[in-house]
């Protein structure tokens, strides 16, 4: 059993209007970044969990996302990184 640090990105699903992202995109363009096409604002969750392997930690975190951390009606998630801690 090892301890893993699993980072998860949760972002609004494509097709769900993200007014926060639009406001940030507007601000960035105003700030002098005219190339900004789109911004989506989501959440970054870091889970420290004990598991036998990194793959087991990934599977477990995926289940956590499906059951609580993300709402599939409105959000997509991706596991950004897994590191031993």
């Amino acid at each position: 059993m090892s301890r893993y640090r699993v980072a998860v990105h949760i972002i609004p699903r494509e097709g769900i209007l993200d007014p926060q992202g639009h406001a940030v995109a507007d601000a960035l363009r105003t700030l002098g970044f005219p190339g900004v096409q789109d911004v989506r604002v989501g959440r970054h969750v870091v889970v420290e969990t004990d598991a036998d392997t990194a793959e087991a930690a990934r599977t477990e975190t995926r289940a956590m996302c499906e059951r609580l951390l993300a709402n599939p009606v409105i959000e997509d998630f991706e596991i950004a990184s897994i590191t031993r801690s």
């Binding site: 951390l69 709402n71 009606v73």
Partner: protein, 230 residues
Amino acid sequence: MRFGIVSFPGSNCDTDAYHAVADALGEEAVMLWHKSHDLAGVDVVILPGGFAYGDYLRAGAIARFSPIMREVVAYAQRGGRVLAICNGFQIACEAGLLPGAFVRNVSQSFICEPVPLRVETTETAFTNAYARGQVVRIPIAHGEGRYVASPAELDALEDAERVVFRYVNAAGEPTADGNPNGAARNIAGIINAAGNVLGIMPHPERAVDATVGGVDGLALFESLVARVAA
């Protein structure tokens, strides 16, 4: 008739619901603590508005794991009536009692104001005391009130006449300018397929007194009394 009102940590409309039932409606109201496993033999469970568990993660996401929610879900699955208001509606969606989810208002602002709603169907235990197509004035108070669901889910709701309340403009039409939060298809309230769980984003319990906010919410509670008495 006995109404049970769930108090979660962070509920702030539970006493409004109590007042609506006990004082305006004149029926029995009992408070149900979130840690309880006992629904006290109630005829209707009210999931009230507020910010249960601080709305951490997402509105309603943590509240659905409250001990009492296990009983509420089982009760609903047995056909028990659940009135889910505002944050209660968000909790009911997270708990799988109703389809869809809620996201931030398009305006990004918390909105607190009375709005016109159209009663889309009176064929429910919650709206039989209204007239079909009646426009009522009920306050909203939410930052994350924009209802979303997949197009297929929205079509299924429409086809089965499960959209119960819609936001409308002054002329009573469900237009974009009559939609305060950007909700899909102007949806303000829906019912589950079995017809025993109603979710409503506006606050009928805040519209039960002529001196403060009008009485357009009272018929929702009267509908429930009429149905149980029948």
